[in-house]
Symmetry: D2
Subunit: 284 residues, 4 copies
């Protein structure tokens, strides 16, 4: 495994941006491995992801901010730097459905997800066996209408304590409060079991079955304060027919949910996702 750095940039589009960044990296002897950029013609925005090998890079990453500041200021950049050697710390929230959790655990264990997984939090005990099979700490915390606020305070304390970087809702059936969400802006990933914006809210498979659609979908998105309305990271669909019962939809949908959520988590971990205007750019 190479030791690399990823720089994510967004700023108003303007002449000289790419030259300034390329010159800066060259001046410090960066060996660029991947570079990708996007210009939103309508909003006049420039977004970039550049990854370079840290072998030979002559700048200590602790000094990167200070060295890059003149360029960032000149172009009005928002930027973020990530090092491949540092594994982000992920928490998974789950309720009773275990298919997404099982999928994430397998990918985590196999090394496909380049992260730490110090804690699984659940409002049920049903999926504890899976956590134990994969030897990941599991904490049960009952949540009811009345105890939700207190439960969230406990959850937040655990997350802080575990130095969690981002949260994956793996079919977690509780709606998080705006206050909770504000602690992790664009750092809570949810899987919704429909092709959003169709069937946002409760029981999407029931409503898809009722409506007689010919494809079902799943959507991974960042959680915002408006339910099922956050920036979409990934979507996919599967074909169904009149022969499929509601139960078949739920089963076929589970396979979609797993793969859509895991793609979103991987891209998030690879620092490929940039959010703007309630949309995402996913650099591939």
């Amino acid at each position: 495994m190479r030791h690399t750095a990823v720089l994510l940039i967004s700023c108003p589009d303007q002449k000289g941006l790419v030259a300034a960044i390329a010159d800066f990296l060259l001046a410090h002897d960066a060996n660029i491995l991947h570079a990708d950029q996007h210009q939103d013609a309508e909003l006049k925005l420039f977004l970039m992801r550049v990854e370079w090998d840290l072998a030979g890079f002559d700048l200590d990453l602790a000094d990167f901010g200070a060295a890059f500041a003149p360029i960032a200021e000149r172009f009005g950049m928002s930027w973020r730097l990530a090092e491949s050697s540092r594994k982000p710390r992920m928490a998974v929230f789950v309720s009773k459905f275990d298919h997404c959790l099982a999928d994430l655990l397998y990918r985590y264990q196999s090394g496909e997800l380049h992260c730490e997984l110090p804690i699984i939090l659940s409002n049920h005990e049903d999926t504890r066996w899976l956590a134990e099979a994969y030897r990941v700490p599991y904490q049960h915390l009952a949540v009811s209408k009345d105890t939700k606020h207190e439960a969230e305070q406990v959850q937040l304390a655990i997350l802080r304590n575990q130095k969690i970087d981002f949260i994956v809702l793996a079919r977690y059936m509780q709606v998080l409060s705006p206050e909770f969400i504000r602690h992790y802006p664009n750092r809570i990933l949810n899987i919704h079991h429909s092709f959003l914006p169709a069937f946002h809210g409760a029981k999407p498979y029931h409503r898809a079955f009722e409506r007689g659609v010919k494809l079902i979908g799943a959507t991974a998105h960042y959680v915002t304060e408006t339910l099922d309305d956050g920036p979409i990271i990934e979507q996919d669909v599967a074909r169904i027919s009149h022969r499929d019962s509601l139960d078949d939809l739920i089963k076929k949908g589970a396979d979609l949910e797993k793969v859509v959520l895991s793609r979103a988590v991987k891209w998030h971990l690879d620092n490929r996702v940039l959010v703007y205007a309630n949309k995402t750019v996913v650099f591939d």
Copy 2:
């Protein structure tokens, strides 16, 4: 080309149905080519499509109704009989966008659509050249808010005059009145340029672009009195990314619209589509 008959049946599910139908067809020496059935477990409905070779069939189709009546009555069947030798008569309604029209004309001309096409009706002149290239009669009829009722009366007269069996709205940008629709129940096919029920109504590509979806869709459905709410016949999607402008969405969507609409028209022509509970069964 074989000369065949297709029988479409729907009725409450009950024992003895298949035996009764099979015995009836055998008694008249039918050589069954395809048979397909569907049982809706929830609604306790039985739906069937059976196609047989008319060579050797010992019943004149003119007498079919009388001969089949005892079975139909015993099981409370709705049924419909179609002969492959009779080509249904299709009318196409179109506005300014011509991609679906061009596609239908090519398929019609090549014999892929087994129908007559005696008339194309449009509220614009833009697509006349295409009709002329394919030598299909084209009639222009301006429609405005004020003249809509009268225009529909003229349209209905033309359709009656031409003995039209069903209508295809090939990106026709006018909303038909409930009165008009009642003349052609489950016989008006529309293509909507979104993955319904997402983005029903106006400007779906604009709204899809705004929302930042990762797939766009198209939906062919029968027109009912509620806009974009009729039984869905076919849907499909195409992947897009942040690199796609609104204009790219419209272009990629056009290819989807063509293929989704043409599939729906073919299935309708092949008597493969049965409507129940605002859904369709598409026998393949």
Copy 3:
């Protein structure tokens, strides 16, 4: 869960077949839940799958063969009867890659695969931990060129001993001998990591990468004596681009392999697959 029976039939196509079967089932008061048939026009073959509720069926399934024999003989049928109450016994063969095994184990444990799984056989120890996590017996048996014949004899003894009905090769990297295969005709399912017949044989991802294809595939098929040439049960593909390294192909392919293999296993378990002319009919 209903207690049902499934009858699978194949025979030369001829008049009166459906009537004879429907009359027989009606005579014994069968409540048909699903029926599907296929006629191969070219080969003049008739294939059928019919499933009925055993509640109310007045024939003991032990007597089915004798009662059905006159019809079977009259039409020259091959047929097979399966009862939903009897869970088939599956063995899984695996080598070092564990993604398909992990997927099958999860689906087995969740009840999605309606079968028993008394044994996992492997020529490596690498995946034992997964079997243990899911509490499924695991047996290691080293296989080399020289010991292959003996190893197969041991494997066959274990399979006999465990009364195995069918075998799933979940990325098992050994080629089975024709002699072994003859013990389980159309009862060994393999997943090949390409879109067959493209890239049959070894290292398909390497060759796909080399060739510069734009989609990769996976194929589930029954194993026959000719390598990668058996009847195809299911295939699917995923889009790749020039940005995907060989390693990306392998990872994206793993997700395909899992879903394609698990669909094939489910259909096999549901008695939906009929083999003829080195092809399959998959009744949906």
Copy 4:
């Protein structure tokens, strides 16, 4: 429509490349609209596509070569410059099947294909009516085994005469000679009616039907001297089932062929395709 320039570059990967290009463009006041690059880690190759607005660009494109030469030499670049204001001149070769031709003609006429189409060449008369409907010159040239060499000489003369930039084989059923191909390296696009490398050569649908595949495919590629072996530009697949006859495969395949070929032609026209190592990079 903006007046833009596209620069395509390929060279050995090395430090300073991006900075050199970006600095050069900035020095001439280029307003970059899109930039995309790819690094092949294995072959240590750098490939880039950059598009800028010519409004404000202070270098006459006639002088571009001379101005860019020092950079090109320093890094050992192969490069190509294209101007959006110059429409490439396309020739279409066709035989009897007309679906791809009809599709290309519609897209050409609607402005979707940004090119000139001065000539359609065919070894049959069957598709002349389509050319006439779209008012595109059509020339018939019979080709037989014996006259092939002479026919190609005539074809080459016509192409030269018409200043043709690239050729699209829209289901042209003759194999072009290596000599002919050498005149248009990576400038002859072919549509093959299978998912290459599966079923290369003759009658792919027949062989797909025979093999019992569950998906059919189509492949657009550049023509090289080895049949069906050139760099793949685009591929796509469609699902089929046992219910599909050979004729159904051919019909479903036709829809695939149209869309795959038209995507490839559009990308070629947009200067998005770079060939290396018998593969393509398609910059999106």
